[in-house]
C-alpha cells in the first residue's frame, strides 16, 4: 500500500473517480488490516426516488409485481414527504457480487461511510456467517428473483392477474410460516431450482395425456389412512412449514400455484437469516465502518472536518434512547451490536478482572480481529447475546428486566436489574428476545382427515399465554382454507394440552374454482 497522505476528497462533492479512490482506500484497510473476506463488490449510485422504490419491494433490485409493494410505497412515500421518516442511507444485497446502493444526495463522507459499512461490513458478514452460508445462496439469488419475476408475469398472462394475485395474497399471509427452521442439511441451490422449474414444466407438457384423467382410481386404502402413525409419516407430519406442506399436499392446487408457493417460500427462506442476525449484522457493519473511518482519518486521508461529519452521523446511528424516551422502540440493533463488538475488542485486548472471570476464553487473547471474525462466523443474535453480553455493557445500558404477568394483579415486577444478582438472568432474558422460537407463533400442521372431509388440522402451541390476534388469525386461516380448498381448523393449546380456542375456516367458492 502506498502510504498516501493526500486526502481522498475535499468538501462534500464527489465524482466517480472519488468513489473509486474511496473504495480503494477502504478496501486496503478492510482486507489488509481487518483481514475481511468479502464477495466481489458492485456499487450502484441511485437517486432518492430509486431508493424509495427499492425500499418498498423489500430492498431487492428486482422483484415480482404485487399490489402490497405498491401499498408500502404509497405509505412510505407519504411519511417520507411529511418528513416522518428519513431515507435509508444504503441498501446492501446479500448476493455475489454483493450490491451496495449509494444515494446520489450523500456527501463524500457519507459515501465513504456507506462503502465501508455495506461493501465491507455487511458483505463480510453475509459471506461468512454460518446462517447465511447455510440458508442462502448468494450466487443464485438475483437469477432466482429474475426467474420469479418472469414466472409470475407468465402466470398472470396465462391464468389471469386476479387468480395469481389471490394465490400470492394467500402465500404472503403464510410467509412467516413458510420457513424450514431445523433441517438445514440441504443448502438451497437457487440456480438449480430455477432450472428444475423449467424442466418440470417441459416434462409435464411433454407427457401430458388426457387419458389419465379417465383411468378409474382404486378403492380408498382406508386401513392405511386410518392408521394415524402411517398417515403422519406419509404426509410428513407434524409440519411447521405451512407453505411447504401446501405446496406438496394441497389436493386441488394447480401446478403453477404450487410453483408460486414455492417461490414465496424460497424468498422467505432467503430472508430468514437476516431476521435472526440483525444485531450482529449491523454491529459488524458499524464496527467495520468505525474502524475504517478512524484509520482513514489517522492516515490523513479524511480531513478533520469530514471526520467530524462522520462522527455526527455515526453517533446518530448508534444512539440508544432510554425506555421512557418517546423515541424508544426497542433496542437499537446498531447501538447494541456496535457496543458489543467494541466491548469484545476491549475484553480481548485489555481485560479487567471481571472480564477474566466472565470470558476466560477470550479475555486477553490479544487478537481482537481474530476473535471478532470467528464470532461473526459462528453466532446468531440469540447465541451472540447469550454468550458475549458483558456485565459492563449491562451497566452501561442500565438494563433491567420487567415481568408482566396478568395473573399477578399487583403490577409489573422488576425481575432483575444490572447488578451482581441480575446479570445472568438479564442476559438470558435478552437473548431470548432474539430467539426466533419465541418470536414467531409455533403453529404446526398436525393431521389431515383423509378418510372424512379432508379437514386440515393445525395446532398452535401457546407460549406464556400469548394467543393469536383473532381478527388476523381468521383472515390468515381463510387464505389457508382457500389454498387447501377444504375446511381448515386451528386449535390453540397451552402446555398442558388444554384447548384455549378453536378456529374453523371454510374455503371460499371463488378460490376453489380458480
Amino acid at each position: 500500500m502506498t502510504a498516501t497522505d493526500q486526502p481522498l476528497f475535499q468538501g462534500a462533492d464527489w465524482d466517480f473517480l472519488t468513489l473509486q479512490r474511496i473504495y480503494d482506500a477502504c478496501e486496503g484497510i478492510a482486507l489488509k488490516e481487518l483481514r475481511l473476506d468479502v464477495y466481489p463488490n458492485q456499487i450502484e449510485v441511485i437517486t432518492a426516488e430509486q431508493m424509495l422504490d427499492a425500499h418498498s419491494s423489500v430492498g431487492m433490485p428486482l422483484y415480482y409485481k404485487h399490489w402490497s409493494f405498491g401499498k408500502h410505497f404509497a405509505f412510505q412515500e407519504a411519511s417520507y414527504r411529511k418528513g416522518l421518516m428519513g431515507l435509508a442511507y444504503e441498501i446492501v444485497i446479500n448476493s455475489s457480487p454483493c450490491i451496495s446502493y449509494l444515494m446520489e444526495e450523500n456527501t463524500a463522507t457519507m459515501q465513504t461511510l456507506v462503502t465501508a459499512h455495506a461493501a465491507f461490513g455487511h458483505n463480510h458478514f453475509f459471506k461468512n456467517n454460518y446462517l447465511f452460508r447455510q440458508w442462502t445462496d448468494a450466487d443464485g439469488i438475483l437469477d432466482y428473483l429474475e426467474f420469479a419475476k418472469t414466472y409470475v408475469t407468465q402466470c398472470e398472462e396465462r391464468y389471469g392477474r386476479q387468480a395469481v394475485e389471490r394465490t400470492l395474497d394467500a402465500a404472503h399471509a403464510l410467509m412467516s410460516h413458510g420457513i424450514d427452521r431445523y433441517s438445514g442439511k440441504k443448502k438451497l441451490d437457487l440456480r438449480a431450482e430455477e432450472k428444475r422449474a423449467g424442466k418440470r414444466r417441459l416434462h409435464e407438457e411433454g407427457t401430458f395425456n388426457d387419458l389419465w384423467r379417465t383411468v378409474p382410481t382404486g378403492p380408498v386404502k382406508s386401513d392405511v389412512l386410518q392408521n394415524v402413525g402411517r398417515r403422519q409419516k406419509l404426509l410428513g407430519l407434524p409440519q411447521e412449514n405451512l407453505l411447504y406442506f401446501l405446496e406438496k399436499t394441497a389436493p386441488r392446487l394447480a401446478p403453477w400455484q404450487r410453483e408460486l408457493l414455492r417461490i414465496v417460500r424460497h424468498i422467505a427462506q432467503y430472508f430468514y437469516p437476516q431476521s435472526q442476525t440483525k444485531v450482529m449484522n449491523e454491529g459488524t457493519a458499524t464496527y467495520v465502518h468505525y474502524r475504517i473511518m478512524n484509520r482513514l482519518h489517522e492516515q490523513g486521508r479524511i480531513s478533520d472536518g469530514n471526520f467530524l461529519e462522520f462522527l455526527q452521523s455515526h453517533t446518530n446511528v448508534v444512539f440508544q434512547p432510554d425506555f421512557d424516551n418517546p423515541h424508544y422502540s426497542g433496542f437499537n440493533p446498531y447501538a447494541l451490536g456496535f457496543a458489543m463488538m467494541q466491548d469484545i475488542e476491549r475484553i480481548v485486548t485489555s481485560p479487567d478482572e471481571e472480564d477474566r472471570e466472565w470470558f476466560p476464553d477470550i479475555a486477553g487473547a490479544g487478537d481482537a480481529m481474530g476473535v471478532l471474525r470467528s464470532v461473526w462466523t459462528d453466532y446468531r443474535d440469540e447465541s451472540f447475546i447469550g454468550q458475549f453480553l458483558s456485565p459492563r455493557l449491562m451497566r452501561h445500558f442500565r438494563m433491567f428486566h420487567l415481568h408482566d404477568d396478568l395473573e399477578e394483579s399487583a403490577g409489573i415486577r422488576v425481575d432483575a436489574i444490572h447488578d451482581e444478582r441480575g446479570y445472568r438472568r438479564l442476559r438470558r432474558e435478552l437473548a431470548r428476545q432474539y430467539d426466533v422460537g419465541f418470536i414467531d407463533a409455533n403453529i404446526e400442521v398436525v393431521d389431515v382427515d383423509l378418510a372424512g372431509d379432508r379437514r386440515l388440522m393445525l395446532r398452535h402451541a401457546v407460549l406464556k399465554g400469548a394467543q393469536l390476534n383473532e381478527v388476523d388469525a381468521k383472515r390468515v386461516l381463510q387464505y389457508l382454507a382457500d389454498l387447501w380448498s377444504y375446511d381448515v381448523s386451528l386449535v390453540e393449546v397451552d402446555a398442558s394440552d388444554t384447548v384455549l380456542k378453536e378456529y374453523v375456516a371454510n374455503p371460499r367458492k371463488l378460490a376453489a374454482a380458480a
Binding site: 430509486q50 418498498s56 425506555f323 420487567l402
Partner: protein, 425 residues
C-alpha cells in the same frame, strides 16, 4: 479485486409505479369514495390539487399470524431507579408502552398521497368530451404567426435592414464598386498637379463615377423581407360560465347540488385546457357577475328572469372572451322557475347568441332533497329548453335532486351526448 461502480441514476425511475397502480386498482372503490369525500369540502378550483386521502384498511390489509397478550418479559435500557423486586403499576392501556409503535398493521385507516393526476383520474374516470363532432379538441386551432426566414418580396414594413445591407455590401465588393475614399484621393491629387495629369485624373474620376452609378449602393435585388407564416395554434384556454338562479325559491341544498356540478365541469375543463377562467353569474330578475363566495353563499331576492343572465353572459362574452380565442362552456343551474313572459326572449338569446359560440351548454334542474320531481309537471324552463332541444339546439339538460345523483348525472350527461352525436352523424 475488481470493483464495479454502476451509475443507475439514469435508469427509468418509478420502478414501483406498476405496483402502485395495482394497489390503486385494488383499492379503487375505496379510493374513489375517499376522493369524493375529500372533494366535498373544497372550492371549485381546489378540486384539482390532488393530495392526501385516507382509505379504510379493510380489504387492504395483509394479515399474519400475530400473537398478543399473555405473560410478557422484556429487557429495557435506561434504568433510573428500579431495583429488583419493585412492583410497577400497570398503565391504563393494556399493551403498555412496550407494545411498540411498530405494529403497522393495526391501523384502522391508511393514509397516502395521490398525485394530482391520479386524483382527477379517479374523479373523472372515463369522461368523453362533449360535442366532439363539432370541434374535436385536439384539433381546435386558431391562426398564429411565427417568423419563418426571409423572402424576396413582402411589405416595406417587413424589410430586414441588416440582411439587406449585408447582401448589398457583398454585391458591391464582388463587383468592385469604387469606394468613395478612392475618389477623394484622386480629387486631392488633382488639386496640385500638372495639367496633363489633371486631364488624366478627371477621366479617371469620370470613369469611377460612372461605374458607381452602374453599380448602385443598394440594388432592388439586395432587398430581403422578414417572412412570417401563419401557424395553427391550439386554443389552450377555456372559459366556464356558471349561471345560477339565486331567487328565494333556490334552497341551500339546491345550491350545493349546483356547486358540485360546477366543480366537476371545472375539473373536466382543467384537464383539457391549460387555462380555465370561471365566470359566476347569478340572477334573480336581473343578473350580475359575482365572485365564488357571493355566488354560493350570499342571499338575494327578487323575481326570476333567466334571460337577464343570458344577456349578461352574452355581454361578458363580447367584451372579454372572443369565441375565436376561447372555448366557451356554460352550465346553468336553476329550479326551473321563469316568468312566462320571459320564455321567448330566453329562447332567442340562447339559440341566436349563446349556443352558436359555445362548445357546450348544460342545464341542470335541481330539486328538493325529498323531491318528487318526476311526478310534477315540467317546469317552465324545462319545457322551454325541451322545445329548443327538439328543434335541434345542442343543449344538455338533466334533473337532479340528490347529492348522490350528481356524479352519475355528470357522467351520464357527457357520455350519452357523445353517443347520441355519434349515432346522429
Amino acid at each position: 479485486m475488481t470493483i464495479h461502480i454502476v451509475d443507475r441514476r439514469l435508469n427509468p425511475g418509478s420502478k414501483s409505479l406498476e405496483n402502485r397502480q395495482r394497489f390503486l386498482r385494488r383499492a379503487k372503490a375505496l379510493v374513489q369514495g375517499a376522493v369524493k369525500k375529500s372533494s366535498q369540502g373544497r372550492n371549485i378550483k381546489e378540486v384539482l390539487e390532488g393530495g392526501e386521502v385516507s382509505i379504510p384498511i379493510e380489504g387492504m390489509d395483509e394479515p399474519r399470524f400475530r400473537r398478543e397478550g399473555g405473560t410478557r418479559d422484556m429487557v429495557l435500557p435506561g434504568n433510573k431507579k428500579f431495583i429488583e423486586g419493585d412492583m410497577l403499576p400497570r398503565s391504563g392501556r393494556s399493551g403498555g408502552k412496550a407494545g411498540g409503535p411498530g405494529e403497522g398493521d393495526s391501523q384502522d385507516a391508511f393514509r397516502f398521497v395521490l398525485s394530482r393526476d391520479e386524483f382527477v383520474d379517479l374523479f373523472l374516470d372515463d369522461l368523453e368530451l362533449p360535442d366532439l363532432a363539432k370541434r374535436k379538441l385536439a384539433e381546435v386551432e386558431s391562426e398564429g404567426i411565427r417568423r419563418a426566414g426571409y423572402a424576396t418580396s413582402g411589405s416595406p414594413a417587413n424589410i430586414s435592414v441588416s440582411r439587406t445591407v449585408a447582401r448589398a455590401m457583398a454585391r458591391r465588393v464582388a463587383l468592385r464598386r469604387p469606394r468613395p475614399e478612392a475618389l477623394a484621393v484622386l480629387e486631392a491629387e488633382m488639386a496640385d498637379c500638372s495639367e496633363a495629369r489633371r486631364v488624366e485624373i478627371l477621366a479617371e474620376i469620370e470613369a469611377l463615377k460612372s461605374k458607381m452609378r452602374r453599380i448602385p449602393f443598394i440594388d432592388p435585388i439586395d432587398i430581403r423581407y422578414r417572412r412570417f407564416e401563419a401557424v395553427p395554434k391550439p386554443v389552450a384556454q377555456a372559459v366556464m360560465f356558471c349561471l345560477m338562479d339565486v331567487s328565494g325559491s333556490m334552497t341551500e341544498h339546491m345550491k350545493d347540488l349546483a356547486k358540485r356540478f360546477y366543480m366537476l365541469l371545472y375539473v373536466f375543463l382543467k384537464r383539457r385546457y391549460r387555462h380555465v377562467e370561471i365566470v359566476f353569474i347569478r340572477h334573480t330578475d336581473r343578473a350580475e357577475e359575482v365572485d365564488e363566495n357571493t355566488f354560493f353563499h350570499s342571499p338575494a331576492s327578487g323575481g326570476t328572469l333567466v334571460s337577464s343572465a343570458l344577456q349578461a353572459m352574452h355581454d361578458i362574452l363580447r367584451s372579454r372572451f372572443r369565441p375565436s380565442d376561447w372555448n366557451i362552456y356554460a352550465a346553468q343551474a336553476s329550479d326551473g322557475d321563469n316568468s312566462h313572459s320571459d320564455g321567448e326572449v330566453t329562447g332567442r338569446l340562447l339559440t341566436e347568441m349563446i349556443l352558436p359560440v359555445s362548445q357546450f351548454f348544460a342545464y341542470l334542474e335541481v330539486g328538493q332533497e325529498e323531491g318528487v320531481m318526476y311526478d310534477m309537471p315540467a317546469s317552465s324552463l324545462w319545457t322551454l329548453y325541451e322545445r329548443l332541444r327538439a328543434g335541434g339546439a345542442p343543449l344538455s339538460m338533466r334533473k337532479v335532486s340528490k347529492r348522490s345523483e350528481i356524479f352519475p348525472v355528470f357522467h351520464d350527461l357527457f357520455q350519452r351526448r357523445g353517443k347520441q352525436e355519434r349515432a346522429a352523424s
